[in-house]
Amino acid sequence: MTATSSPRAPLRASAASAKLQRLAALVRKETYQLFRDPSAIAIGVVIPLLLILLFGFALSLDVKNVPVAVVLERPSPEATELAAGFALSPYFASSELTSMRRAEELLLRQKVDGIIRIRSDFARQLNAASGEAQVLVYGVDANRARIIEAYAQGALAQFLARRSAEGYPPAEGGGAAVVQSRLWFNEADDSHYFLVPGLIVLIMTLIGAFLTTLVMAREWERGTLEALFVTPVRAGEIVLSKMAPYFVLGMLGLALCMFAAKFLFGVPFRGSVSILTAVSTLYLLVALAIGLLISSITRNQFVASMATLIITFLPALFLSGFLFDLHSMPTAVRILSYALPARYYVNLLQTLFLAGNIWSVILPDTAALAGMAVALLSLARAVTTKRLA
């Protein structure tokens, strides 16, 4: 607890310690309130656990075992060998058919995601060096379709390579450029590697901004903040004490995610934990400040929660670079993304988890977050104080 003031201590010191005492009492009150409130438990504990479960086990962008139909219009050794290539590939779960009509029916009913059509004169054409294989993909999910297309091309290229190894003429007369690709930082191409940093951002946003908004807006709505105002507590102290328990809850959420990342998903962490803690603190402060600001301005639970959802949560999902590449967005949207704290935090997390302590990334992003934290916190304090006074 705080130091008790001695009667002979200078006035200033006693004022300061009284302030500390008030603050400690308030923080205690807020903490009790937090743990008594089932809604806080729901957002602070249930949703993070749910998210970890979903991200860890349900969501995946890795394309494996894609159901495809291989249509063999007339069996021949060449055609059968090509079909076997698809049957053996880990990316495809292929089923062999003989009729294109039947395959198209399956594609329409989404029983298969693609069709590889090997025409009846495939063997003859191939030996005349003019073979053709037709790949049909269900294009509605464009991302998946493109990956399937690339895998199908790969399987066909392997087929050709095997044939040329067996002494058939090489694929190209004048030699060919061969792509040797390497995926740095994520050699195994595991989508958990980039989903987990995103997960942390979502959870921190949820606890920092959404929960704070909701609780504060309720206090505004019910007038309990005004009730606090008639006590000797200052506005700044109220703001500080409101933030403290959510800050702790947010950091606990981070610890939980780190634990899950390491032991559940096996995602490497190549940076330093102290930098992670520091930047997470900054992001949490920014999120808390946004929560306080929105609730002080709207003073209405419904409007406040909708505003938080739209201003913080959805952008953290869509505009932060967590799922979708920022370079590819139109300039206006890209400029907008610079105003979002989540963008910097996602970048920091992805770098710290997978690349390590890259200072030329860490420093500018941290500076941006720090600037936002200072600006938003002072704004939140000013708005809340003004509204109270």
Partner: protein, 372 residues
């Protein structure tokens, strides 16, 4: 009977007034779906463009020049740096100056001319492995094109096997064509669920629900009176998003509006039923909002919007069977892109009809329990 209809109409009028008379809530109902659709329509894309890449060309030959020109001309990549030292690769990738580095070894042209395979090293920043994988796919396609040209120009035989690829329903494989129709379901789901969950909770909290009880309304009528306005608002929101999709993003609509709206109506009834059920069990607005949020999150993530359903383990795929959003997104895609008719939508329609019936009747039952 006539009285029932009149009473319900009166209640619907009152509900709509309550929701729409406040300018703030009016704005918060109709502006966000349009704005979100616009922003996410632009942002939520897995298609790449403008990807920064760096070059380490150790060959400096006509062949390497041609290959790089093909990459530059693809419209996907933007050259940001010319490297002279292999050690620089690590720097540009680490510092996020470039997402991809293309390294061409010094005997590239010699090997090509000798009819040997010539390696092109392509290194991608895997911090977002999905983006990196897509970028590598683009490079692969560009190199294939280069090989075909090289062979044609240098008297080689064309490749013995050509692959022709056709994508159904989305010929250019644009993610936007997938995302924007899916938003019709997603955004209306979020809003109508919350709106319905809050509507009864608000009356409870303000004590007006008790006043409603002393009127001649039956529980069933109260429920219908609460459900229909939300369905109506959901339909208006869906229409707004549909308009943005067609007029702004110009995504061609292949199906019939009738099929789409039949699907949407069933979907909204299911969503509203869930909202009302929730609304019947919660004590106040805050709980309503929270539980709505707790429900919405997994439903949105397990709907196939951001990651494909078929990638999920079987357990989670089974869970999605009770998710009305899953069916709504499927319907939106099938009608919008494939032009599917009602008969083809039946596998999606009946589960939603069941969800709607179950949730609406349990809500009615819960209301009655609360009333008597």
């Amino acid at each position: 009977m006539v009285e029932t209809v009149l009473r319900i109409l009166a209640l619907i009028r009152k509900e709509l007034l309550a929701v729409l008379k406040d300018p703030r809530s009016r704005v918060s109902l109709f502006l966000p779906p349009v704005l979100q659709c616009l922003i996410f329509g632009y942002a939520a894309t897995y298609d790449l463009s403008n990807v920064p890449y760096a070059v380490l060309d150790q060959d400096r030959s006509a062949a390497s020049h041609d290959l790089l020109a093909a990459i530059d001309g693809s419209g996907v990549f933007r050259r940001v740096a010319q490297l002279y030292d292999g050690a620089d690769i690590k720097t540009v990738i680490d510092e996020e100056k470039a997402l991809v580095v293309v390294q061409i070894g010094q005997d590239f042209q010699r090997r090509l001319s000798a009819g040997l395979p010539a390696d092109v090293q392509v290194i991608a920043d895997g911090r977002n492995s999905n983006t990196a994988g897509t970028a590598l796919g683009y490079v692969g396609a560009i190199v294939d094109g280069f090989n075909a040209n090289w062979a044609a120009d240098h008297g080689g035989t064309p490749p013995p096997l050509r692959v022709t690829v056709r994508a159904w329903y989305n010929p250019n494989l644009e993610t936007r064509w997938y995302m924007v129709p899916a938003l019709i379901g997603t955004l209306t789901f979020l809003q109508t669920l919350l709106l319905t969950a809050m509507s009864v909770a608000r009356e409870r909290e303000q004590g007006t629900f008790d006043q409603l009880l002393v009127t001649p309304f039956r529980p069933f009528e109260i429920m219908v009176g609460k459900a229909l306005p939300s369905v109506l608002i959901g339909l208006i929101q869906a229409t707004l998003i549909l308009l943005v999709a067609q007029l702004w993003f110009r995504i061609p609509f292949a199906g019939s509006y009738f099929s789409l709206y039949v699907g949407l109506l069933l979907f909204l009834l299911a969503a509203v039923g869930m909202g009302l059920m929730l609304s019947a069990v919660v004590a106040n607005m805050q709980q309503a909002m929270l539980y709505a949020f707790v429900i919405m999150m997994p439903f949105a993530l397990l709907s196939g919007l951001t990651t494909p359903l078929s990638n999920m383990p079987q357990v989670f795929q089974d869970i999605t069977l009770v998710n009305p959003l899953r069916y709504a997104i499927d319907i939106a895609h099938r009608v919008y892109l494939e032009g599917a008719g009602l008969a083809q939508l039946i596998p999606d329609l009946w589960p939603m009809a069941i969800i709607a019936t179950v949730t609406l009747s349990s809500a009615a039952w819960l209301f009655r329990g609360g009333l008597e």
